[in-house]
Amino acid sequence: MCTTCGCGDSELVPVELHEKILAGNDRAARHNREHFLEAGVLALNLMGSPGAGKTAVLEATARAAAGKGWRLGAVSADLATDNDAVRLEKAGIPSKAITTGQACHLDAELVHRSLHGVAWQKTDVFFIENVGNLVCPAIYDLGQAANVVVLSVTEGEDKPLKYPTMFLAADLVLISKCDLIPHLDFDMASLEDALARVMPRPQVLKVSARTGEGMDAWVAWLAARRLEHGLVGKVAGLAAHVHPAAQPHGHGHGPGGHSHG
């Protein structure tokens, strides 16, 4: 019986969907990915615990990559402040804070909106510093070319086993603050063993933002990703798809192509 007007029979139909709950985010992430690759930008999603050293790694990257001639840029998620963005600017990386309020992760839509305030098309390597959190940032695709997880030597060797989803998502693990190892009861072999139990192809680099140890290998890893994504030799910022508007706008991938109103 129709419960609204009593006009006739209604029926219960099972609708099969088998659809990812994050399908909407994945669509927005694909859109971001197109932006980045069209403009010749290598975008990286940098994740890790609060205080793992994400911002410090970026500051050190500016120093280590100086000889590369790369133009760097960043957006940085911060619950309440713009401290990280200010630090990055000082280090020579044009940056903007994404104030997330209560949110414990970035999503693709937030990243897209933040792009309107930065000259990301004019960069060669663009960092998205995620919220300090080892859980949920891992499940939101932002449109990055690769995920990098920063794990400091002060956090304990068992972190990969406790947060397997994060490490499963990682294309690279940067073991940070390695200058502290002599002062700690830290066992690198046991951390590497833990990583091998949650990542089928563990890729690991040991770095210290403080001493610069390992930073050349990290810069080489970035260069290899640029090569892998066909971004070498491209002139960034000349892509047809420009993002001049600072105000919110709709995006279409309709018959008229990708339009920005």
């Binding site: 129709c2 029926e11 088998h18 709950i21 399908a23 909407g24 192809r201």
Partner: protein, 114 residues
Amino acid sequence: MHEYSLVEALISRVEAEARRRQALGVHGLSVRIGELAGVDPELFQTAYDTFRAGTLCAAAPLTLRFVPASWSCPRCATPIPRGEVLRCQACQEPARLDEGSDALTLDGIDLEVP
């Protein structure tokens, strides 16, 4: 607590489907959570119970199915037990995550249609 934003996405997807089919009501939905999806089933259920009030899902029970994560060798299909090094001892191949192990999926909705 991203379980809340996931439930928000879930409910708006269900509401869109109900509108599209001019449904009179939503009578239930089923969701599958892989062990490595990064989602806590209990928190997800709590978030759903909090959020569904006042939505088309207000009277719709949520059926959650938990999928344990499993790994296997992509070459010889030997299962690789969880907690082991993720490499096939026989083939030296890196393990492959079996389907569903890291997925968060809306499987289906029971809709009352005219």
